[in-house]
Symmetry: C2
Subunit: 217 residues, 2 copies
């Protein structure tokens, strides 16, 4: 029984890593589709999101089955509860990739956003991809130094998010209304993607140390 | 032991209702602050959000303690797992109220958005408040007819969300860039608030029937 349980916990962790890998691939493609106005790639991100959703639901079912059958306590219980929280955040990260891809698709064949903010979005996209890849490693290794990296990269994204608004609201902004809408939404989606990663990093920290870091901290 | 457990489950439910009531008050004030450019009320919403965050964290702690000590199964387990999910969504609804209030504060003493979209936002706000109040009742009574109402009102909000974009991107739009940014963000926050309510309604349905409705459905 005990051995089965350890195998199940192992499987939970592997599935989290798997879903995080799907999310990393989806943000990578979404960023490329957004920056390069690649509508085929955007469609791929949108249709692949089902896979992330399904994997998250299946993992939740597994976690609930473990709670019912194994009645874990202490660290084992923390793993299972954290799994439920982390899978919800991963699912939302997949949604953010999808929203970014949708912006690319709506405006095709035009570029989504005017030249003046493209470098800022390229930076945000690069950081989101880096964060997603680090998240996969963090879930695989529980190396908390990666949690720290993710928080720092999130700070950098927040700064870029402000830059977008400064540019859009600045005197030199030549964008049309549709550009303003797209830049506002795109910036928000890039920023939220990173927020969810930070939220997961906190949960991994809780898992590793037992110290609960509230969502709002 | 059994009796203690039933009392604890009762307390979990009462606390969910309590947090939902705080959220209902916060969206009511946020909508009023936003539509009436009331900066004092906006400040109140922003500072009161701590209370929602704290209550959600405390409820999570209680739920995890129950999992560890009572090792619930079947419906009892569903209640505790759903509590963790619902408290996360309520916490996010409080964040959406705060974001709406922040928009009112940033632009003070100007009105947040131009005349042409004010009636649309008044409608969205009214629906968000109605949804929040129904959510309190749904959590209190588990009357699934309210879940249906919430879904219908969410559909109405989604339609208004599209109306905002049609207006903003229409030929008659006279707003400045800052108005476009505000309308885009405000519409997104109003719409997300309702999404979270729908997501909670699904969880209550799961609780009542045992049928899991995936997040993405």
């Amino acid at each position: 029984m005990r051995e089965v349980f350890q195998q199940e916990l192992q499987e939970v962790q592997e599935r989290l890593v798997e879903i995080a890998s799907l999310v990393a691939r989806s943000i990578e493609k979404a960023v490329q589709a957004f920056n390069g106005s690649d509508v085929a790639l955007a469609e791929e991100v949108i249709s692949d999101d089902n896979e992330i959703d399904r994997a998250a639901v299946e993992l939740d079912e597994l976690a609930i089955t473990i709670l019912a059958r194994q009645q874990p306590v202490a660290r084992d219980l923390r793993i299972v509860v954290s799994t439920l929280r982390i899978s919800a955040s991963l699912e939302r990260m997949g949604d953010m990739s999808t929203h970014i891809a949708q912006l690319a698709r709506y405006r095709f064949p035009d570029k989504v956003i005017p030249k003046s903010v493209r470098p800022t979005f390229a930076d945000m996209g690069r950081l989101d991809v880096a964060i997603a890849n680090k998240l996969v490693e963090l879930l695989r290794t529980e190396n908390l130094a990666l949690a720290e990296d993710i928080r720092n990269e999130d700070d950098a994204i927040d700064a870029l998010h402000l830059t977008v608004f400064e540019k859009v609201l600045g005197e030199k902004w030549k964008g049309e209304t549709v550009d303003t809408v797209d830049a506002t939404l795109a910036s928000r989606y890039h920023e939220r993607f990173a927020d969810h990663a930070v939220s997961i990093a906190k949960k991994v920290q809780y898992l590793a140390t037992g110290d609960w870091v509230p969502e709002s901290a």
